[in-house]
C-alpha cells in the first residue's frame, strides 16, 4: 500500500471525525436512540427476567443494528448534501481508499456507541457483559456490519429513496453476521463450551473477510455513475 493511498484513507476518516467531534451530534443521537430501543423492547415484549437473560444477546444486537443504520445513513447523507459525492468521485485516488476511509469512521462511531451501550445494558439488566470473548465478538460483528453497511449506504444514498432504502438493503444481507454474532455472544453469556462457540466465531471471521474483500472489489462499481 502506497503512502498516498494511506493518506487518502486517513483524509476521509479524518474529515468525518472532525465534523463529528465538532458537533458530537451523531454519537449522542445514536446513543439516545439505542437506549430508546431497549426501553421500547421492554414495553413491547414485557420479558420476564428469565427469558430476558436468554435474549440478552439478541436484544443487544438488534439495538446495535438499528443504531448502526442511523449512523450509516447520516454519514452518507453528509456526502450527498452539497454534491460532495461528485466531489469524491472526481478525486484521483483509488475508490477503495474512499471506501476504507468511510468504513473506518463508521466503525469508530459504532464502537463508540457500543462502548457506552454495553455497560448501560449491563446495569439495566443486571448481567455481566465483560467477557473478553464477548467484546471480541462485538468487535468482529461490528466490523462485518460496517463493511457491508458502508458499501450499501453508498448505494442507497444515490437512489431517490435514500432515506428509507438502507435498512432494506442491509438487513437481509447482514443476517449471517447477525445470527453468528447473536449466537456467539449468547454462548459467551451463558458460559457455553468453547467448542460450541468456536463455529460461530469462525463464521464471523469468514464473513468479515469475505465482506471486506467483496466490498473492496465492488465499491468502484457502486460509487461510479
Amino acid at each position: 500500500m502506497s503512502t498516498s493511498y494511506l493518506r487518502a484513507i486517513l483524509a476521509v476518516t479524518w474529515k468525518d471525525l472532525t465534523a463529528e467531534l465538532r458537533s458530537r451530534e451523531l454519537l449522542s443521537a445514536m446513543l439516545v436512540f439505542s437506549v430508546l430501543v431497549l426501553l421500547i423492547f421492554y414495553f413491547a415484549l414485557e420479558l420476564d427476567v428469565q427469558t430476558r437473560s436468554e435474549i440478552t444477546a439478541g436484544a443487544l444486537w438488534v439495538t446495535f443494528a438499528f443504531a448502526g443504520t442511523l449512523g450509516l445513513n447520516r454519514s452518507m447523507a453528509i456526502e450527498k448534501d452539497r454534491g460532495c459525492l461528485d466531489g469524491l468521485l472526481l478525486v484521483p485516488v483509488d475508490r477503495s481508499a474512499i471506501y476504507f476511509g468511510k468504513a473506518l469512521s463508521n466503525l469508530a462511531f459504532m464502537l463508540a456507541v457500543e462502548a457506552i451501550v454495553l455497560p448501560l445494558y449491563s446495569i439495566m439488566y443486571n448481567v455481566n457483559l465483560f467477557y473478553p470473548g464477548l467484546l471480541g465478538v462485538t468487535l468482529l460483528g461490528s466490523v462485518g456490519y460496517t463493511a457491508v453497511g458502508t458499501l450499501l449506504s453508498a448505494m442507497s444514498v444515490q437512489t431517490r429513496t435514500r432515506d428509507v432504502l438502507l435498512p432494506i438493503l442491509l438487513f437481509p444481507v447482514i443476517i449471517p453476521v447477525f445470527v453468528a454474532a447473536v449466537k456467539a455472544s449468547g454462548g459467551f453469556l451463558n458460559g457455553a463450551e468453547w467448542s460450541e462457540i468456536i463455529p460461530w466465531v469462525n463464521i464471523l471471521l469468514v464473513y468479515d473477510v469475505i465482506f471486506i474483500a467483496v466490498a473492496f472489489m465492488v465499491f468502484d462499481f457502486v460509487i461510479e455513475e
Binding site: S23, V35, I123
Partner: protein
C-alpha cells in the same frame, strides 16, 4: 454584570443550612428502618430529588406555554434552566434509587414500571437537549424547545396513569429481594416532608443561578459582538 441580589445571597446560605439540617435530621432524628436498616436513609433524598425534578419538568411545560404566547426569549432561558436542573435532580434520584435498589432488591436496576417511566422521562429531556443542539437560530430553537416540552409535559402524567393500569392488570413481581411495604413512622414522614421542602429551596436557588448564568452568557455574547465589530 449585576451583582447577586440580596435575596439570592440569603437563599444561598439558607440552602446550605437547610441541606445540613435535612441531612442531620435524616441521620439523627429519623429512626433506623427495621427491615432495611441504614440504606433506607437514602429514601429521603431519593424522594426529595425525584419530587423537585418532576416539579421542574412541569414548570418547564408551563413556561413553554408562556414563551409561545409572549415570544419573549426570557421565558426560553427559564425553560432551559428548568429542564437542565430537573434533568440533574432526576438523574440523582435515579442513581440514589439505584444505590438503594442494590441492597433492597439485589439489583441496580429492574424493569419495574415506575423505574422505566423515570428512564423515559430522562430520555424525553435528553432528546430535548439534542433537539436544541441541532438548531442555530435562537428564536426557532426556543420555539421548538417549547413545543417539545409541552409534549413532554403531556406525556409525563399520562405515562404515570397508564403505568398504574399496567400494574393493576399485570402485577409485576419485583426482583430477587422482594419488598415489604415500609411502615413509615411519624418521624419518618416528618423527615421526608422536611427534606422535600429543603430540596425545593435548593431547587429554587439553583434555578435562579442557572437563569442568571444564561443572562451572563447572553451579555458575554453581546460584549464579544461589540468587540468584534
Amino acid at each position: 454584570m449585576s451583582p447577586q441580589p440580596r435575596l439570592l445571597h440569603v437563599l444561598n446560605i439558607l440552602s446550605a443550612l437547610l441541606l445540613a439540617a435535612g441531612t442531620l435530621m435524616v441521620f439523627w432524628y429519623a429512626p433506623v428502618e427495621r427491615v432495611m436498616g441504614a440504606v433506607q436513609k437514602l429514601f429521603y433524598f431519593h424522594v426529595a430529588t425525584a419530587w423537585v425534578g418532576m416539579i421542574g419538568f412541569i414548570i418547564a411545560a408551563v413556561v413553554a406555554i408562556l414563551y409561545l404566547v409572549t415570544k419573549d426569549l426570557k421565558w426560553d432561558a427559564i425553560n432551559v434552566a428548568a429542564v437542565e436542573i430537573s434533568l440533574v435532580f432526576f438523574f440523582i434520584a435515579i442513581v440514589l434509587g439505584s444505590i438503594w435498589a442494590r441492597p433492597a432488591w439485589g439489583t441496580w436496576w429492574t424493569w419495574e414500571p415506575r423505574l422505566t417511566t423515570a428512564a423515559i422521562l430522562e430520555m424525553i429531556y435528553l432528546a430535548y437537549l439534542l433537539l436544541r443542539q441541532g438548531i442555530e437560530d435562537p428564536e426557532r430553537r426556543a420555539r421548538f424547545g417549547a413545543v417539545y416540552t409541552i409534549f413532554g409535559g403531556l406525556s409525563v402524567p399520562l405515562t404515570f396513569v397508564s403505568i398504574r393500569l399496567f400494574r393493576t392488570i399485570h402485577p409485576v413481581i419485583i426482583g430477587a429481594g422482594g419488598s415489604e411495604k415500609m411502615n413509615m413512622t411519624g418521624d419518618m414522614v416528618v423527615t421526608m416532608l422536611f427534606n422535600i421542602a429543603v430540596f425545593s429551596v435548593i431547587f429554587i436557588t439553583l434555578f435562579w443561578h442557572r437563569i442568571r448564568l444564561g443572562q451572563f452568557a447572553e451579555q458575554v455574547e453581546r460584549r464579544k459582538l461589540q468587540l468584534t465589530h
